[in-house]
Amino acid sequence: MKTFKIGGVHPEENKLSAAEPIRLAPLPQVAVLPVSQHIGAPAKPVVDKGDKVKVGQVIAEAGGFVSAPVHSSVSGTVLKIDSVIDASGYAKPAVFIQVEGDEWEESIDRSEQLVRLEELPGLTGKDIVAKIQSAGIVGMGGACFPTHVKLSPPPGSKIEWIIINAVECEPYLTADHRLMLEHADEILVGVSLLMRAVDVNKAFVAIENNKPDAIELMTQKARIYPGIEVVPLQVKYPQGGEKQLIDAVVNRQVPAPPALPASVGAVIQNVGTAFAVYQAVMKDKPLFERVVTVTGKSLARPSNLLVRMGTPMSQLIDECGGLPENTGKIIGGGPMMGKALLNVEVPICKGSSGVLIMDEKEARRSRPNPCIRCGKCVAACPMGLEPYLLADGAAHEMWDMLEANAVTSCIECGSCQFTCPSHRPLLDYVRMGKSTVTGIIKSRT
């Protein structure tokens, strides 16, 4: 079975909520919508205090090409434009909306009926990209890169394939898994739309082998969609990384940054993004809700919830049985790449794939011991780097050495730290080194 060739680890899967159907989360009382839910320029608010808004209405316009508009996820009155602590751990400007009822924009098609691509023969690639851009769709795997930018590859690069990332290699998370089981047809129409948008006739849907039901269902459904092939992959973290996925599926290697996946002919999209594309293009529904896995060993009822953006995480935790007494950390995202949150009022954003509750024992960091030169981190690094060396270099501020050893290629997957028998905080140092070196490289130009 296919997988990527260099490094990788296999953490305990803990897919506690895999059998839980997606439930509708209740509406929040106040929705808090940060204007920067994506990579790139923050969106500019276009509503004022006291304005009435409907579900799906634009409340902040894109602040540039690499940016995305933000739509209201609820109907009600704008309370204020203030700052809120988001998943990054810092306060960011956000629009606060007092929820009143649930009134949607009339243009949104709320029916469950599937619209196939054949029903809209006149739809061109440009139309699709324009609709994706105006719907505010960003990469929903967590990176939040605006999708329309990914679908506009730089001139000169020839796109051959779309690869749909449905591997969900992070432990605990099951949102994509459930989405495939419950909305397979919509996803496949979304993939067809993405294929038309970049004008290719081949797409792969990559699913890890720990989701056999999804592989079976998607393979069976994909038969009637021309050019879409389901590729089962061996379970290995970080297979969801763009470069690792391209290596695993089509056996090509993306060169070091600033090269993009487009340079080897591939465009990667998350399976959640494909679903959002279907809803945006076929149902005129902008991106204002997503599936979030709320999970944890100590949580009473791990679940997959369909959540409106801006819902505070505390409400989702209450929906799943309340915050356990012995909670040590609340992680936004999965356990490998997620971030510990500062409080439970952090709102769900476009890139929030999960909320993970860790009890005190799980959350405790082990005391670091000296490096024993075992080389496990080097073997685990999926980018072929030497994490022990980079971490040491960063601690001693040897920026030239870090640059020479390709610290900017690090994808921050945390495999090195996960595998380290001395519990050294390798990723913390490497990440600090990477951001410093990136800053130095930028300052040169």
Partner: protein, 299 residues
């Protein structure tokens, strides 16, 4: 016996030939170094702290020599050695040192001690300010204040900074601080300022950098500046400005009247340097009182 003689002859001859080659090469390819460079390097303190703005003392020495060739030692100063060292350097180079009598000192512009600023969450990551800053806003409600991991203390080569275990904040020792600026560079939140102190090592400082609006700043810390501008109104010498919701006092204009300190409802304005006045400190043991530079020269 023959073997020994042969060995001595062969090695001796080889040694002689190689030695003459080395001699010729060393003469022919000798690098001519300015003799003044060595002399200036010998005078400089050799701390390689970077306070002068150059990567180390030898780079500073070559900068001095280059500047002497151009005719002026303007903009060159060694914060560690002070006027004394620069006078010696100037004597070697046959120049005159340009004096700036403004003493400088590192000031920690945050007063968010454990008492003033409550810890509301834990941080169990690497105990380095840089990483703590990149990870999140920290363990308190203030996203601008001191993180308390002591990056500044570990960067100080002169023992001028120490961590106060009670307050959890770094403290500057005015007798040891050379104002080299290494701590200011190390602080990821830019809380350490190298300030000219015009009134005998004493100055008025707003010890807060919180840019949040009033209410938020107030909730974050007991001694945060809320940008209320009361100090601006009270100041008779127009030394205070408020930008980004934080007041700043221009040391050059401040007359040390203390009205701002009394007016501040948040107690974020403090008189610094009262821990040691020049009277208590013998002049020769105080390297801060005399530094030379023309940068930011006080009016």
């Amino acid at each position: 016996m023959n073997t020994i003689v042969l060995a001595v002859c062969v090695l001796g001859a080889a040694g002689l030939i190689l030695a003459s080659v080395l001699y010729v090469v060393s003469r022919k390819f000798a690098v001519k170094e300015d003799p003044r460079l060595g002399e200036v390097s010998a005078i400089l303190p050799g701390a390689n702290c970077g306070g002068c703005g150059f990567p180390g003392c030898s780079a500073m020495a070559s900068a001095c020599v280059r500047a002497a060739d151009k005719g002026s030692l303007e903009d060159l100063s060694c914060p560690v050695g002070g006027m004394e060292i620069m006078n010696k350097v100037a004597a070697v180079l046959g120049m005159e040192a340009i004096a700036d009598e403004t003493p400088r000192i590192a000031v920690v512009c945050c007063n968010g001690s454990c008492e003033n600023r409550r810890q509301i969450r834990e941080y169990d990551g690497v105990q380095t300010c840089r990483i703590a800053h990149a990870t999140s806003m920290g363990t308190t409600a203030c996203a601008y204040g001191c993180l308390g991991c002591g990056d500044c203390v570990s960067k100080c080569q002169f023992g001028g900074l120490s961590m106060n275990a009670e307050t959890g904040m770094p403290e500057v020792d005015a007798t040891l601080c050379t104002a080299c600026g290494a701590c200011a560079k190390a602080c990821p939140r830019g809380l350490i300022e190298i300030r000219p102190v015009t009134h005998e090592l004493t100055g008025m400082v707003v010890r807060c950098r919180n840019k949040d609006k009033g209410v938020q700043a107030k909730n974050a810390c007991d001694v945060s500046c809320i940008g209320c501008k009361l100090c601006v109104k009270k100041c008779e010498s127009n030394a205070i400005t408020v930008e980004d919701n934080v007041a700043r006092i221009d040391a050059a204009l401040c007359t040390l009247c203390g009205k701002c300190e009394q007016a501040c409802p948040r107690k974020s304005i403090q008189k610094i340097g009262e821990w040691d006045t020049p009277q208590e400190m013998p002049a020769e043991e105080n390297p801060v009182t005399e530094t030379i530079t023309t940068k930011n020269k006080a009016q």
